[in-house]
Symmetry: C2
Subunit: 331 residues, 2 copies
DNA sequence: TTGTAGGCGTTATCAT
DNA sequence: ATGATAACGCCTACAA
């Protein structure tokens, strides 16, 4: 039924070794047989069995992409960056998600590292520790982590601290002194860094950070923003600005609730989000926010991992990308 | 370096055949050797080489998911549906996108169908013809198409015609007679069906369709909506409602531009979108729209394809899911 | 330039 | 209950 090298070999009057060499463009094949073999291969509509090839070469020509959650627009956008370059790359992408199930995570890593199903791994924005990622190094499966810097692993990430600094400083130069900060601890390192950037900006302008206007939300939805605003509005002195490293959706919730309560944005309350999701342009006033170069991150990630797999690069590489501050109407 | 069946076999004093049987829970193995083998396997931290296994069993335990474009929130959401069920399923997901490159598409199908890299294929919302999908049938690779009904292929889809009918009829019962329709032809069958539903609703209420308020946009972004509104506003008699099967982003553009021009939504102009994207709740007034059960579609798709692959179902199956009309503030 | 032979790690069919 | 042995389809020395 399916055409194999052997089928071609028989018809061409050669052995499958020869056919293999032709298919793989190896040198030292006479033009005559090359032509003949290629012709027959085409007639028979031959496609190599990649599984068999993988067994022989010990390469699957496939890379794994592990994501925490496909519901995150950040993750999807990075994925898109990975895929779009991948057009010209002869690697297949296998998608895995861990949906926060902590125990399954390291199990998944084990399997991926040892089952020889993939040649390398891209890990997007996760809360795993570096230790848990060691399996890949142990099995010498190239790996790279996106959205977070890791000392002992290749990584592609954004300067979150600086992004937050820029945003906060912008608010300060606009005259704000009481700037609330809405963050989300459980999201891990990146939000932590953003918080630090916020603090640094305050410090560099001799403004004391007020702990009563620092909030920690659990999730990053619009409802969280609504709830936060309701807590925020009664605090005195009331902040005149809010920086929301927790994400744009939370910021949007705040905008909505503020408007509903008759608070004018940005006049009474300026708001800066983080991420530049599509809805940031939809809300009125349109949201000022910090954009991360998500597509670019994906792009770097796939290229770096392919280089690693093919042995073109060695040593740990870090790629830091800049954020971009997008000024719209909410400030 | 890597542990194989043979390694285990040697230490256990049996052959790799026996070890294989133990690993795969085959019957007719003495408890003693089973215990012994399992113990050694664990000590050595053995994981089967799935590539080798695939060659032997002619199964890759992997399914391909082909998407036209990861930038579409519809596609991503269906993907999410596929992945979330997939947790308990022993199939890996390989992601492919075709980014509209028509010529590459059938080439991709050829490869996927013949390279034995995947056991089955899920195709999300694409404009390919049934003919192009024949390769899968020819190579007896189970396949299923999502978001569109195909006579000769398994499919999971939504009753777009009815969804559009419901939306339009709702507008009619609200007293509207001049209802514009913004569609997007190039998106293929589903939009076509929605248009038909719109027409049917008009007919069933003896309203004549006006061709001067039927618009065709090329893309489905906010800008398209803005542009459409500017064309719409000068038409007499001016429509009092707009149904936008082209999608929520276009509808949002219309809302925004209408507001900017001082037209009151919904009082002066009622607007209904299609898809229920996250931003539909963000815009003010919140958008009335037609929701498709995207997660559910992905869920059905993965389960159907797995059943097919494992030979549990045969014959062509179609699963039609209902849309849900979401009433918000724009009507 | 091409053929021979062996191996990649598993599974599956026979014997034993 | 277990062992030999032969696939699976391809690649790669090495030999000719």
């Amino acid at each position: 039924m399916t055409v194999t090298l052997k089928d071609i070999a028989i018809r061409a009057g050669v052995t499958s070794a020869t056919v293999s060499m032709v298919i793989n463009n190896k040198p030292n094949i006479s033009e005559t047989t090359r032509k003949k073999v290629l012709k027959i291969a085409k007639e028979l509509n031959y496609y190599p069995n990649v599984i068999a090839r993988g067994l022989a070469t010990k390469k699957s020509n496939s890379i794994g992409v592990i994501v925490p959650n496909l519901a995150s627009s950040f993750v999807v956008r990075v994925l898109q960056g990975i895929k779009s370059t991948n057009r010209d790359i002869e690697y297949t992408v296998q998608l895995f998600d861990t949906i926060g199930q902590k125990e399954r995570e390291s199990q998944l890593f084990q399997r991926l590292a040892r089952e020889r199903r993939i040649d390398g791994v891209i890990l997007i924005s996760s809360t795993v520790t570096e230790e848990e990622l060691n399996v890949f190094a142990e099995e010498s499966v190239p790996s790279i982590i996106v959205a977070r810097r890791c000392e002992h692993l290749d990584s592609v990430y954004v300067n979150n601290e600086q992004g937050a600094f820029d945003a906060t400083e912008y608010l300060i130069t606009k005259g704000h002194r009481n700037i609330a900060c809405i963050t989300t601890r459980k999201q891990g390192i990146p939000t932590e860094e953003r918080y630090n950037g916020y603090l640094r900006a305050l410090r560099s302008h001799q403004i004391e950070a007020r702990s009563d206007i620092l909030f920690d939300v659990n999730d990053d939805g619009m409802e969280d923003g609504i709830e936060i605003f309701d807590r925020l509005k009664n605090i005195v002195p009331r902040p005149t600005a809010v920086f929301v490293p927790a994400g744009d959706m939370v910021a949007i919730g705040i905008v909505k609730e503020a408007k509903r309560e008759g608070i004018k944005v940005p006049d009474d309350l300026a708001i800066v989000g983080y991420d530049d999701i599509p809805a940031a342009e939809v809300i009125e006033p349109a949201l000022t926010t910090v954009r991360q170069p998500k597509l670019e991150m994906g792009d770097y990630a796939i290229n770096m991992i392919v280089d690693k797999i093919e042995g073109r690069e060695s040593g740990i590489k870090h790629k830091e990308l800049p954020t971009k501050f997008i000024i719209r109407e909410s400030t």
